[in-house]
Symmetry: C2
Subunit: 252 residues, 2 copies
């Protein structure tokens, strides 16, 4: 197996709506990069900001439900309203935490609505409307802008987990990548048939990339090399393929 | 930030009970490795095998409960018995899947009991009894055996996740590592106080390492460099610190 390397790109400026993110990413590529099989992992916030996926709290009028939840959880009711607007369902509202199912189907705290790394205190950042489409568009633009091969693109967010402390970065969108590495039917080193092994490669790439940057470092983009076996010429099924449907989920 | 690199160690032979795993790992180190701040990530199976944490199914007599669960789930009742022996609680038994809380407190399929990469069809491999202690012991032995600094040690397993398809490698034991990277109270790039950011660095290291090896490759050990900010001279709290207690868990 090839060694895996993850390197944060330097010099990406703060992003605002309408910025040409792909051009800024192409400019920030190290000399000679990307190589074939490379994966560009992006914190979703730069994607969301460039797409204008933000809300101004001062323009939000909370409903009675948002006010009630806000009071119960000690949260700004306007922020709660934005979370509700981004959710198809609230699964838990306890201990100051709002666990929502987003319109995409992601189960996460506050439907991914976040004020950290926002441009000012009145602005919250949403998840991209269609992160797989965002990844595809970025990959297409990068193909036009770069001399070499376009990298696969993974868009990430930090999600908490049931049963475990701490957050891990996971893939909310991807393009040019096989997000699941399916070993079912293959054999282990002893010839034993693997019956249940499907690796969430896109999520492992997101996690690996997160190690290469600090949360205060203005490094939203990380180039991962050595994972070419997960890269595909086609856009692939996207990170949507990682969402377990309600019927398949033992923990709803 | 330093680039992250993850390289699988070559030439580790099949492991049996009583093998000196630390000596085999020390021998397999690439020239000049490990460097200060390196992390050695080990698939738990080699640790379990060296510790004799296996069971022979032919020696297991299933109880009535194991027989009933086995019939319901289409599983070997003796395998189910071993899962029950390794569990403090069964949380779900549906769709052919047994989700258990292990004696350690991990919530996972089959309490981590697995037949893949086992030496023969009669043997199942258990999780180490105390993976944090296993990691500490390996780290101490490596300190004695290696010329350079002892690496931090992470012991991993592949866990499924609620709500998401596919498995990610996570840390079930660690030593010489700060498993949680706590940014609460720090500030983001704009000076905004981060209120909820705690990164499960040990789990992200496990995921990154998994990308550097294939499931059929006999590469149970991966050396990760560049993550020195998570490494500590002390053993640290271990992966036990990653387990969310029942009282803190919204999804029990």
């Amino acid at each position: 197996m090839a060694p895996i390397t993850a390197v944060a790109l330097e010099g990406i400026p703060p992003i605002s709506e309408g910025d040409d993110l792909a051009a800024l990413l192409a400019e920030a590529m190290p000399p000679g990069a990307p190589a074939a099989g490379d994966v560009l992992v992006l914190a979703h916030k730069v994607v969301s900001k460039s797409e204008g996926r933000t809300r101004r709290l001062s323009s939000v009028t909370p409903t009675a439900r948002a006010r009630e939840l806000g009071a119960r959880l000690g949260k700004d009711a306007r922020h709660v309203q934005v979370v509700l607007d981004e959710s198809r369902e609230v699964r838990r509202a306890e201990h100051g935490v709002l666990i929502a199912v987003t319109h995409h189907g992601f189960v996460c705290a506050n439907a991914g609505v976040d004020s950290s790394n926002a441009p000012d205190d009145d602005t919250v950042i949403l998840l991209p409307q269609d992160p797989d489409r965002s990844a595809q568009e970025l990959r297409s633009r990068l193909r036009d802008l770069l001399d070499g091969p376009a990298p696969a693109v993974v868009i990430t967010d930090s999600f908490g987990r049931a049963w475990r402390h701490g957050q891990c970065d996971i893939a909310i969108g991807c393009a040019g990548l096989l997000p699941l590495d399916d070993w079912r039917g293959h054999h282990d080193s002893r010839g034993h048939r693997l019956s249940a092994t499907v690796i969430a490669a896109a999520d492992e790439l997101a996690a690996a990339a997160d190690l290469a940057r600090a949360k205060d470092s203005m490094q939203p983009a990380v180039l991962v090399s050595g994972a070419g076996r997960h890269v595909s010429p086609d856009p692939g099924p996207g990170a949507t393929a990682l969402i377990r449907s309600e019927a398949q989920d033992l923990f709803r």
